[in-house]
């Protein structure tokens, strides 16, 4: 059936979901009846129409700026730079971080055609040059590309007259920040180090 096939195909495009899981989800929804499916459809539709990238930091927002950028109690002089919005949630979940964020929207990967121009690096520079930023914490993922992105950002930020730090070493290599356990992540943030060189 075309309708079922279309839904399976869409679900299978989501990260971590293979064809088999997509089929199972589809049949689960069918079994639950039309109410359940419609609720899911409405939730998806609402997200698609109301959620956008924060104009300041790139995190998800329902208004011009996200909850963190609007929160005056958050330290605007401290910016934690992450690859994806999911990392923001990981940092929020497990640390006492009270600064603001900057979501790059990925990491440098020339093989995938992702160069500096594909990431939100210019807007990071703009924020830094706007004044008031004391420290930028580079919290890209502990993978080769994440490390390289941090190295690159450090070069870009050098000479802007602020402190640039990197999460402490010891995070499991190759993973995403969102899968690092909370205690380890909290420690890596607390023990962050100045980048030299």
């Amino acid at each position: 059936m075309r309708a079922i096939e279309a839904l399976v195909t869409e679900l299978a495009r989501l990260p971590g979901i293979g064809r088999k899981t997509a089929q199972r989800l589809t049949f689960h929804l069918l079994q639950q009846g039309p109410e359940e499916s419609s609720r899911l459809a409405r939730a998806l539709d609402t997200v698609a129409t109301t959620v956008r990238a924060c104009a300041e930091c790139g995190y998800v927002a329902e208004e011009e700026r996200c909850e963190f950028c609007r929160d005056a109690r958050r330290d605007a002089g401290l910016i934690c730079v992450v690859e994806e919005a999911a990392s923001v949630q990981a940092v929020e979940r497990s640390t006492e971080f009270r600064g603001r964020y900057h979501v790059l929207g990925g990491r440098l990967s020339p093989l995938d055609g992702i160069g500096p121009e594909s990431l939100r690096i210019d807007s990071l520079l703009e924020r830094v040059r706007g004044g008031g930023v004391r420290e930028v914490i580079l919290a890209t993922n502990p993978s080769m590309e994440g490390e390289v992105t941090a190295t690159y950002l450090h070069q870009v930020l050098a000479g802007e007259g602020l402190r640039v730090t990197r999460l402490a070493r010891g995070l499991p290599m190759g993973g995403d920040l969102e899968y690092v356990d909370g205690v380890t992540l909290a420690h890596a943030l607390l023990a962050r180090q100045d980048i030299v060189g």
């Binding site: 440098l108 020339p110 160069g115 080769m144 390289v148 070069q155």
Partner: protein, 360 residues
């Protein structure tokens, strides 16, 4: 290492099979192009999870078939293990399971089962381009050391990214990959150098054991500075313009070579066919001892039509060397019984038109 049982579905031209294998090994006898080498290829496949002779998985799939499935049940010392591969031709997806559990990364499964193959094309190890010898080093050292396997994977990833940036003319972006390239590349270089230092005498001994004469040399051609991560910055700086111009990284272990000499002259350039063949076999013997020492168990031996290529004197010497006091399992292919060395005491199975007979 002992292969206890193999299950094949849709593999090359072989009729689907499920066979128990004798602990001492098997001789596969049959005319060419009937499938005996394919059987050997199946036994060698779960070492690196790719075909021994460089064939793609699509080529390994039986003609017009939907894919293939291979299950190997083997012993590593006292430990019984299972490696399974399912390849689907339609979406070119390969699923690998080790001991019943799917593996997230290929590297987790590499080397669980270990076999060393002697192939007719091995003469290219001695007489062919440098890439043959780099593949030889990478295969052997990856199976002998997980440190090497990990460093090599990191090196290849950094190299691919750096080369992509160079192709795109993005110099600062390429430069950002210098650090991971140096970290992994120095490790690969140092481990190769360490192996070569201990291997030269053994290479000479193996070469001589095949009845060859003359002092031999085995050395590694590289920029010695590259064994130290601190040596990379200057070295990369010197070639930066060249790298940008060519759109690729022009120094590092992916450009090095293993240099073989006899009487002080390059084997590759001056060796006779017989010498090249002996040198290639000596390299395989080295691979065997390197892996056996690292793993503590002898790898299985796969000998594809190796004896037919040799004169009777070399044949006897090799058979003596390989089979005399071995405890490992040996799989041999040969077109005819009279091309097997005398004294080879193994069960004989015949392979005709993809059908294997003689199995218990």
């Amino acid at each position: 290492m002992h292969l206890d049982r193999i299950v094949l579905r849709g593999f090359r031209n072989l009729r689907d099979l499920d066979h128990l294998l004798p602990p001492e090994g098997v001789v596969f006898l049959g005319p060419n192009a009937q499938g005996k080498t394919n059987f050997l290829e199946a036994i060698g496949y779960p070492v690196l999870f790719r075909a021994l002779r460089g064939a793609t998985d699509a080529e390994v799939t039986g003609f017009g078939g939907p894919g293939f499935r291979l299950e190997a049940i083997f012993h590593d010392g006292d430990r019984s293990r299972t490696a399974e591969v399912t390849y689907t031709a339609g979406n070119r997806r390969k699923r690998i399971m080790l001991d019943g559990a799917p593996v997230a990364r290929l590297s987790e499964a590499v080397g669980a089962w270990v076999a060393v193959a002697f192939l007719p094309r091995d003469v290219a190890l001695a007489g062919g381009p440098a890439t043959e010898r780099r593949q030889y080093l990478d295969r052997m050292l990856s199976l002998a050391s997980t440190d090497y396997l990990r460093a090599l994977a990191r090196y290849r990833a950094a190299l691919a990214q750096r080369n992509a940036a160079l192709r795109q003319g993005q110099e600062p972006l390429a430069r950002a990959f210098d650090a991971p390239l140096a970290a992994a590349g120095s490790e690969v270089t140092a481990l190769r150098l360490r192996w070569v230092a201990g291997a030269a005498d053994r290479f000479a001994e193996g070469f001589a054991s095949l009845g060859e004469h003359g002092p031999t040399g085995l050395s590694y051609r590289t920029d010695a500075a590259l064994a130290d991560p601190a040596g990379w910055a200057d070295a990369l700086q010197r070639v930066r313009n060249r790298d940008l111009g060519r759109g690729m990284t022009t120094i590092g272990p992916h450009r090095d070579d293993l240099v073989l000499t006899v009487d002080g002259r390059s084997l590759r350039d001056f060796g006779s066919t017989g010498q090249l063949r002996s040198a290639a076999i000596a390299l395989r013997l080295l691979e065997l001892t390197t892996i056996e020492e690292a793993r503590g168990v002898p790898p299985a031996l796969l000998l594809d039509d190796v004896f037919a290529e040799l004169d009777s004197d070399r044949q006897a010497r090799l058979a003596d060397r390989l089979l005399a006091q071995r405890v490992g399992q040996v799989f041999v292919t040969a077109p005819r019984r009279d091309e097997l060395p005398a004294g080879l005491q193994l069960p004989i199975w015949s392979v005709h038109q993809g059908v294997v007979t003689g199995a218990a």
